[in-house]
């Protein structure tokens, strides 16, 4: 009974073990099966590793924070239509400009446009809902689902009328893959993630209070509306950065966040957040090692993650463990 044994460990011990495992995974990824000159291998794999670590961090933090402000354990930012919006933007670009031009455009520009669109979308949606008559997060989530369906239908429609050659390119872009990381984007993504993290750090002392629910947070003096807005923007930035780097990974955040909640003895953020980040790193880097060394690049990591994550999601629903 691994979970039982783990539960008895102090939180710091779990974090140390997870950190060590993550380090070993990183070292293995960098060195395993290395043939040829190190001066080529290290930068080449280093970029991939950096992308994976950035994505792991962003997805874990954004999911946990999103679940904190919505007070639930089963919804993730993708419920707000983020991945669908990403697909829509990609499809729209390729429909308008053609695959050749999109592929040849400056990736950094594309990245900023994608991030900007996603942040704008979430802020507009949030502002609109919170300045309107009803201010419930449930309504926000429902609207998110509707938007998701709308975006998905729109991109499906565009995909029907698109040039078949362009469609192949598009399909490739819409599957999460760590082999096609745009290395030009690493720097700018890291910068955005760092900025978002800094902002989140400044309101970090409110996280645990927010998890108690809106009314109790207000009663305890947290400026609830302001802080949730800040956190939502942070989540938008993190999700945009990671999605633009490797594509949408819908269930991955749910997977690592739930794992962190289950393994850690309490749900304080100072334990859950680092745990989720470390689990995400282990899963991504470890998964990529397995993928490269065992399946010999026959499949994409995104597909494996979605498969496992989807099963886990169903399990959560059936067990009714998550509210």
């Amino acid at each position: 009974m691994l979970p039982e044994a783990k539960r008895k460990m102090p939180p710091l011990g779990i974090l140390l073990v997870a950190g060590a495992v993550a380090l070993v995974a990183c070292a293995l990824f960098m060195t395993l099966g290395a043939k040829g000159s190190w001066s080529f291998i290290l930068p080449f794999r280093g970029k991939k590793l950096a992308a994976m670590l950035l994505v792991a961090f962003s997805i874990a933090v954004s999911t946990v924070l999103f679940q904190t402000i919505t007070n639930n354990r089963i919804l993730t930012p993708s419920i707000m239509g983020f991945d669908a919006l990403y697909a829509l933007i990609q499809t729209g670009f390729i429909l308008m400009f053609g695959a050749a031009r999109v592929s040849s455009a400056d990736p950094r520009l594309m990245f900023l446009v994608e991030c900007g669109a996603m942040i704008l979308f979430s802020c507009v949606l949030y502002r609109w809902l919170f300045s309107g008559a009803a201010r419930s997060l449930h309504q926000l989530l429902l609207v998110g689902i509707i938007f998701g369906v709308l975006f998905r239908s729109l991109s499906q429609f565009m995909q029907r009328i698109i040039d078949p050659n362009d469609f192949i390119v598009l399909q490739d872009r819409l599957f999460a893959s760590f082999n096609t990381v745009e290395s030009d984007l690493l720097g700018i993504a890291a910068l955005m993630i760092a900025a978002a993290t800094l902002v989140a750090w400044r309101v970090a002392h409110t996280f645990d209070v927010l998890a108690l629910g809106r009314e109790m947070a207000i009663g305890l003096g947290v400026p609830h509306r302001r802080v949730t807005t800040i956190i939502l923007v942070v989540v938008a930035v993190l999700v945009s950065a990671s999605t633009a780097l490797v594509g949408p990974v819908t269930f991955f955040g749910l997977l690592v966040a739930s794992l962190a909640y289950q393994v850690m003895p309490d749900s304080r953020h100072r334990h859950v957040l680092p745990a989720a980040v470390l689990f995400a790193m282990i899963a991504l880097v470890g998964g990529q090692i397995v993928l490269e060394r065992i399946f010999a690049f026959d499949t994409a990591l995104g597909i494996v993650i979605e498969f496992v994550g989807g099963l886990f999601f169903i399990l959560l629903l059936i067990r009714g463990a998550a509210r």
Partner: protein, 233 residues
């Protein structure tokens, strides 16, 4: 002193609180009673800035609740709502420790530890959290809901003690008239979004007053020097 000045609240087309003017003096235990939908909980939520008002102002010691920074108000006024469910997994001590958050912003001091230990003596975790917040004004929305007789009595004694020994201003929304009669210094009766009556238990717990508020027959008995209302048959 809590001053409620011409406060109104509308849900959709329904006026739930209709231009309430009310002054809650400092100290003592004040009960708010009234039939369902009278606007008791809504009024309490507006005082504690959980929901905004459509018109009017509420001030606590001269601080406008809608404009005062949340953490300033949280050191003066605490609120406990009826249903408290949460997804977080915490020990009781961790939960109670959140009562110190307005004072320490999440960094516990030795003094906080003493507050927590004292509050932990109370059996109900959420109530202990509010007591641990140690504010001058304490608002409770139907704290007796779902409590059995023993726990209800313990709860009311506890609130009574907070008012008497600690000098807190306690405001409680109650459904049980007899608890209100036996434990309150003051009773405010609401009906249809307005304050129908206010006064001491002797003034409010009278057959004709209660009949006007609840629209059903009451008989008032003096038992052990307390006014007990019966309405069961």
């Amino acid at each position: 002193m809590i001053r409620i000045d011409n406060v109104s609240k509308r849900y959709g087309g329904t006026l739930v609180v209709d231009g309430v003017d009310l002054t809650l003096a400092s100290g003592g235990l004040t009960s708010i009673i009234g039939p369902n939908g009278a606007g008791k909980s809504t009024l309490l939520s507006m005082i504690s800035r959980l929901i905004g008002m459509d018109a009017g102002t509420v001030t606590v010691d001269g601080l406008d609740v809608t404009r005062t920074p949340g953490d300033v108000l949280a050191r003066r006024l605490s609120i406990l709502r009826q249903d408290n469910t949460m997804t977080a997994r915490l020990t009781v001590r961790d939960l109670v420790a959140f009562g110190r958050y307005p004072h320490n912003k999440g960094r516990l001091t030795v003094d906080d530890g003493r507050h927590i230990d004292r509050a932990l003596a109370y059996q109900r975790a959420f109530v202990a959290m509010v007591l641990c917040q140690d504010t001058d004004y304490m608002l409770f929305d139907e704290p007796l809901n779902n409590l059995d007789i023993k726990h209800a009595v313990t709860m009311m004694r506890l609130l009574r003690r907070a008012a008497e020994d600690l000098g807190k201003t306690v405001v409680v929304v109650l459904h049980d008239i007899n608890f209100a009669s036996c434990h309150s210094d003051r009773i405010i009766a609401m009906k249809n979004g307005r304050v129908a009556e206010q006064g001491s238990p002797e003034e409010i717990v009278r057959a004709e007053v209660l009949e006007a508020i609840y629209g059903t027959a009451f008989a008032i008995h003096m038992i052990d020097g307390q006014r007990i209302a019966t309405y069961f048959r």
